[in-house]
């Protein structure tokens, strides 16, 4: 069970990252750096939701690995597409 304070902290972090991503998209033409930054923040957001909102951090290990892999794979693909 999560304490409300911890969940609130993650919620604020997710909102701040979303606004930061929007700012990047609005203010900058898409450069490799912007795309890599966005991909990394997407990875972080996904992992936070999986671990703390879905409560998989202390749960079934294979399921957690599977879910986390999804959010490591797709942002990594964005980075690879930008770099190559």
């Amino acid at each position: 069970m999560k304490s409300i304070g911890k969940l609130e902290y993650y919620w604020w972090a997710l909102i701040a990252i979303t606004l930061f991503n929007t700012f990047l998209g609005e203010q900058f033409d898409s450069t490799a750096l912007v795309s890599v930054l966005v991909a990394l923040t997407v990875m972080y957001k996904g992992l936070v939701v999986i671990d703390h909102f879905m409560e998989l951090k202390q749960a079934n290990r294979p399921l957690r690995i599977l879910m986390r892999s999804y959010f490591i794979f797709f942002p990594s693909m964005i980075i690879l597409t930008v770099l190559f």
Binding site: W11, G25, D29, V42, H52, M54, A59, N60, L63, T81
Partner: protein
């Protein structure tokens, strides 16, 4: 070799905790696989038609996309709070958090309708070009999942209101909550893919 018979009985029988039930997790993983195919299709087509995608993206509203992202993340947060409350046998706060989650989901629906209407007014539709075919198909598919999620959350809220989640029998609640988090997770990838990365 470790003789497991020497371990305490609680340790021998302890299984890794699974929020919700296994069937829902199979469903969630199947849904994520379908969305994965869409993400890959979108990324490949973007590589093939970069000018078309850049032009198509210029007609979207990143602020609307950001509002929708905030709405779904906040909704997910309220669902997590609602689950926390029900685990402590606090039915009333749990229902209130669930209603807050549904209001946030409703905000997503309204903004998405507004976005679609703006595009239709400009003369864009699902058959305009490859970009808009993918845009409408992927977002409408996600939209359907939001609607289904809202039905599930409403059902859970009603059951919580009637006090049917007593004695820690909350597997159904957890399963519905995990489905809703999955809907949020998909949008976490869709938002930068559609609105942010040019």
């Amino acid at each position: 070799m470790l003789n497991t018979n020497t371990l305490p009985i609680e340790e021998q029988t302890k299984k890794p905790y699974l929020p919700g039930d296994l069937a829902m997790w199979f469903f969630i993983l199947a849904e994520l696989t379908v969305f994965a195919i869409f993400f890959i299709a979108f990324a490949i087509t973007r590589q093939l038609y970069p000018e078309m995608f850049q032009l198509g993206q210029s007609y979207l509203h990143p602020i609307a996309g950001a509002i929708n992202t905030v709405a779904l993340i906040t909704s997910s947060f309220f669902v997590a709070l609602s689950l926390n409350a029900i685990k402590q046998q606090k039915n009333r706060p749990s229902v209130m958090f669930m209603i807050a989650a549904l209001i946030m989901a409703m905000l997503y629906i309204v903004v998405k309708f507004w976005e679609y209407s703006q595009l239709f007014e400009l003369g864009f539709g699902i058959s305009s070009n490859t970009y808009f075919t993918l845009y409408f198909f992927i977002t409408a598919f996600h939209f359907m999942h939001v609607l289904l999620g809202m039905v599930i959350l409403s059902f859970i809220a009603l059951k919580a209101f009637k006090g049917e989640y007593q004695n820690k029998a909350i597997s159904g609640f957890e399963a519905g909550a995990c489905y809703w988090h999955m809907v949020d997770l998909v949008w976490v990838i869709l938002f930068p893919l559609l609105y942010v990365i040019h």
